[in-house]
Amino acid sequence: MSEEVGVNEIDNPAVGETQLFSHMYVKTMTVEQLYDSLIIATNADKAGQGSYEDVQRQRQQWLQEFLRIFGGNDDDEPTLFSGTIPQALMLMNGELVQQAISVEQGGFLTSVLSNPKLKSDSARLQALYIASLGRYPTRSELSKIDRMMNHIPDRLAAWQDLYWALLNSNEFVLNH
């Protein structure tokens, strides 16, 4: 990703210009990519109790559900965000994301919050950013989010909402 955003302005395939490959273009992930990203970014399939078989069955069920809502035609690669409300609803309120932000033992959020190596809130915040977006938060993001979280009295809920926001962010869904 180029830092020189100004220079890249003439290279925008989204408005029909020929690609100059000056930077990586935003594109949406495929359904399976998003699904895998969610599973990995969240330990969602490990949260709660259950045998290996239960976990696998749950994974299959989630994947089927994903394919149904995101459209799994064989004739073209299903890509995300064809812009439908059920898709957004699924990421906002669906079971997979609920599991991901659940505070049950073994869930990703709990493992980050209870990790003794992460000694400060900013270290925990960084861990969540790396897990979901694959990058550290910028200084301004860090301070902005810190301010917001301080407004929420229930600390655990604040962490849940932050991780929810990261998983629902366009940056998570869009491969860039």
Binding site: V5, N8, E9, N12, P13, A14, Y25, V26, K27, T28, F70, G71, N73, D75, D76, F81, S82, G83, T84, I85, P86, Q87, A88, L89, M90, M92, N93, G94, T138, S140, E141, K144, I145, M148, I152, A157, D161, L162, W164, A165, L166, N168, S169, N170, E171, V173, L174, H176
Partner: protein
Amino acid sequence: MSLLIPRGMSRRHFLSHLSAGGAATLGATHFLSHLEAHAEEVQKSQKACILVWLGGGAPTIDMWDLKPGSKNGGNFKPISTAGDMQICEHLPEVAKVMGDMSIVRSMSTREADHNRGTYFMHTGYVPNPTVVHPTFGSVVSYELGTKRKELQIPAFVSVGGGGMDPGFLGMAHAPFVVDANGRIQNAESSDPNRLNQRLTMLEAVEDSFIKSNRGDVGKAHKEVYQKARDLMTSDQMAAFRVEQETPEMRKSYGDTQFGNMLIMARRLVEKGVPFIEVRNPNGWDLHNDVFDSLSRTNLPNLDKGLAGLVNDLKARGMLENTVVVCMGEFGRTPRINQNVGRDHWAQTWSVFIGGGGLKGGRAIGATDADGLRIESDAYLPSDLWATVASALRIQLETVHTSKNGRPMKIANGGTPIKDLIG
């Protein structure tokens, strides 16, 4: 509230009302509530189609095109109706509304497999491995839904599941599925404050990404989330709450699950949703004991539901703008099998259709005395959907382009059924 300028009303016309009515002398609230009431009227007068789906394939020879005196006739007697045709004795309430509705008795659709027939009847196209054709609800969503800016509910709602695939029109026009009780998956937010808190957090997280000038995809993502949030908190969601209706109203539809699904459909039309598919909860794949199943459950349910819907639409002045179609994927064999059932049959069968300005009270086309051959013009699903398209004022010349660049005529280039559009 939204200030709608209804179609069919020009700016000039609107302004002349303002001056003639002396809007300046009216209180602002009075004026606004008048507009709101007017907006509701406009939504009611928008075109819509309700498809009542009889999954499994209904024995229309026992419902709409009886053959008394034939060895294929079965157990039921025909009764007279308010229209110019006779129908089954187990549909007495529907018989009373047949002055407004018609029966097409010469459907001949050649696909007698459940999946292929379902596809053919929904799309107008025979299944083809190189392309997925859009189900007609998706076509209506694409053609009419995109123009209804005030509509927060998706433009194609499937009550009870099913409804098929949007095909090359894209997932934005896929059926929006609600269960028979009006529940939408993932749409219930237990705590609106929590949702707001999360969305504020989301805005903070996303801000920098959108500002980093990465094209329109980020913006589109944001818009979808706004739409989803709007839907979750929309007043229009009340359309799914059939329990808000009076017990008398529910009784007039039969007070059954099917009846409630049809009430939901009418409530959605009132909000401006242009296409609703309601899946009748009874099984129609009657290979065994066809007469018992029909007379005990299927027909009494259908009778009260369909008649309730037509009566209600008419009483509200909505019938002239709302097409009602009732069919399944095919008919059933005229021959009665050894299990007193009827098997799959696509060569000669009937569809119930009316409203939306279509001619009522007519039986269109005819089959022979044993129900085996068509003795008139035969019709295909493409003709049926072309008829619906013309009632909904969708241009029949419209051509969509499939993903691989093939031009696709709307309703597969079918011809509207002349006797229905007059």
